[in-house]
Symmetry: C2
Subunit: 391 residues, 2 copies
């Protein structure tokens, strides 16, 4: 196991009706003037924003609102948010929504207290300071409610890139599984797929002898396999929603990924798809993961066989472990399709003729130098072959 | 799943040579005058205390020392520590050792800033304030490095009782698995047993539909089953030590126990044994757990069958699940014996004729009112029968 540090100071408030605690939590963590940041109309129509406002009113905490976050959140709204926070003296950002809203909030929080262009952080600069952030989560997916990470798309060039720093870990996150019961099945499934991807990205490691994190990752994968079909069949299954919601946080606060190299090539390969075609990130990952894993499987057949046996219930073929490894990848593919996720380029609106452009932005855009350096180092030729496996 | 809050803000520094970061960590968390609290001579003889002091010297942080913590730490030294901290204006407690040293440090930290008798906290009063604490851990066992809990034995009456409060969660914990390589096999095994007990206490729940925490607990149990024999066979196996050390923290910071009722009857039943006979807590638990689980198994045969199949690899007897459930308990017993742990009263120096006294203190001492209220409510008759199963 490699040396590591782990720090996850977010205060989680989990369960029914917990959004009514928002005002108390903002007060506990020192907010005196809040920007409520959110996306489209659903959080307004459902009455959630009103309940959040009522809880702030009850604590006499003033607030402004900034809606309009889109899936695959854009830099334009971040700049707007930064200006607003500076002008209005905001000292606390409250994200009400999913990963896109939280990531946009993190970018605003970091950018507001930074002299330069916030995009610097998305080109590799570590985030040292930010306004405090709280979240009220409405979808189990990105894990941004417990992570130090944010992903934003820069409109000039459509670069989709990540930034990180302990300063953008939320001070608190409110997780009410009931808020996710109104999600359409497709978004629910895309969320589950994103969580599964966060687990595979950590599972695919070149560090040996990491049994505790292997086992913890497998535990969360098995939870999704058990609860995913139940929640698709009955969207109102509160307990299934709750298990998925905690799994989504645990998959990405890195408690299960410490001390080991991680992959993240699948995320990078997907980001180009959702940046160009604006598909749901999870839906893109459903197409990307089986392709990537098939392509890199021979780098460590044992690892793919292990997850196949332990998680997917495949029988070990001791003389032909590659058969078992492949069966595990096929089981993942079948599982995602069974949830209603797409299986190829066509189903997410992607086009074969765009592959050269996708590969070029992926491997050379925004400061990259020709390769992706995850579980396996992938060059342009590899990435081209991987995208072609998705046709 | 039940509503819950989860808060684990400890900064973990994990890996080789990390004890040399102690001074930097104390500085980061605001300590300006430190009490170094530790137990016997091993941390001195090994040079660990000298390395810790050197790291404090490097940051120009002054310190005093208070050694002498014993396993099953006593109230007398806590009172001494509180007096010392007040007299000397200590503002940070640094525990260098295992669970006993950390728990003693937590008691001193809470007691120093409290007007009344610190023992109030061990009679049920929640700990709201405490001096900040840091730890340098030397055994994977108690999980106190990441928990809000402390257990102390009051010398008048030999009551062994617990206290809790977020204020006593360590600000940082330094976990260097190499420091555990010099532990004798018996202490290593007792530590593994304690971790296993923390997992079973959480696993035995009356809350239904808790797949995510069930799976996470099982993951940590399987880690111990894999790594335990390896570390007993080769005490210098760093990776096995590392996996056990992270499992020990994860087993007890409660990330895997949220949203569900827990048991803790086994801990209460054991505490009377280690209080009276001064056996290692883990060794006592090795004797207690199979007895308790056999006694309460029929309360939820399915739960015991589930752990038997998923963790211990037992075959499910679908028509006779109680056979599977029992096989899982026997597998636990065999595993603990294989690590070198005791199996009955005689092997921990306990005596049948003391059972009435044990039961009386357990059920009626220090404010208790006749029953233990965990997974199954146990009265004096039940506890007598359980102790007799250990003969």
């Amino acid at each position: 196991m490699n040396n590591f540090t782990f720090y996850s100071p977010t205060y989680f408030v989990f369960g029914k009706d917990t959004e009514n605690e928002t005002g108390k939590m903002v007060k506990r963590f020192g907010g005196t003037k809040v920007l409520i940041h959110y996306g489209g109309g659903s959080v307004v129509r459902s009455g959630l924003i009103d309940r959040v406002k009522a809880s702030l009113d009850a604590e006499n905490i003033p607030y402004l609102e900034l809606g309009g976050v889109k899936p695959n959140p854009r830099s334009g709204l971040v700049y707007e948010g930064i200006d607003l926070c500076r002008k209005e003296g905001i000292d606390f950002i409250l994200a009400v929504g999913g990963g896109s809203t939280i990531d946009s909030s993190k970018a605003i929080a970091a950018g507001t207290v930074y002299d330069g262009d916030f995009w610097d952080f998305y080109c590799g600069k570590y985030i040292e300071n930010a306004l405090p952030i709280g979240t009220v989560l409405t979808i189990a997916a990105a894990g941004s409610e417990g992570s130090p990470d944010s992903v934003i798309t820069k409109e000039e060039g459509m670069y989709k890139r990540g930034a990180t720093g302990d300063a953008i870990r939320p001070k608190f996150s409110i997780l009410n599984p009931a808020l996710t019961q109104t999600l359409p099945p497709y978004q629910t499934a895309a969320g589950i797929t994103d969580i599964m991807a966060h687990l595979y990205e950590r599972y695919l490691t070149n560090t040996t002898e990491v049994e505790v994190t292997d086992r913890l990752i497998e535990a969360l994968m098995m939870t999704l396999i058990h609860e995913g079909p139940r929640v698709i069949e009955n969207p109102n299954n509160y307990d299934a929603r709750a298990n998925i919601m905690w799994a989504g946080m645990m998959a990405h606060n890195n408690a299960v990924g410490v001390g080991r190299t991680q992959d993240w090539n699948s995320h990078d390969i997907e980001h180009e798809l959702s940046a160009l075609y604006d598909c749901a990130h999870g839906a893109g990952l459903a197409v990307v993961m089986p392709a990537v894993f098939s392509y890199v499987m021979n780098h460590d057949v044992t690892r793919f066989a292990q997850v196949a046996v332990r998680v997917w219930g495949c029988k070990m073929d001791f003389y032909h472990p590659e058969v078992t490894a492949k069966a595990g990848i096929e089981a993942l593919r079948s599982f995602l399709i069974s949830l209603g996720m797409p299986k190829n380029f066509a189903e997410i609106g992607a086009k074969e003729e765009d592959i050269p452009q996708l590969v070029d932005v992926l491997c050379n855009g925004n400061g990259r130098t020709g390769t992706l350096n995850g579980f396996v180092t992938l060059n342009e030729e590899d990435c081209t072959a991987i995208y072609k496996l998705m046709l």
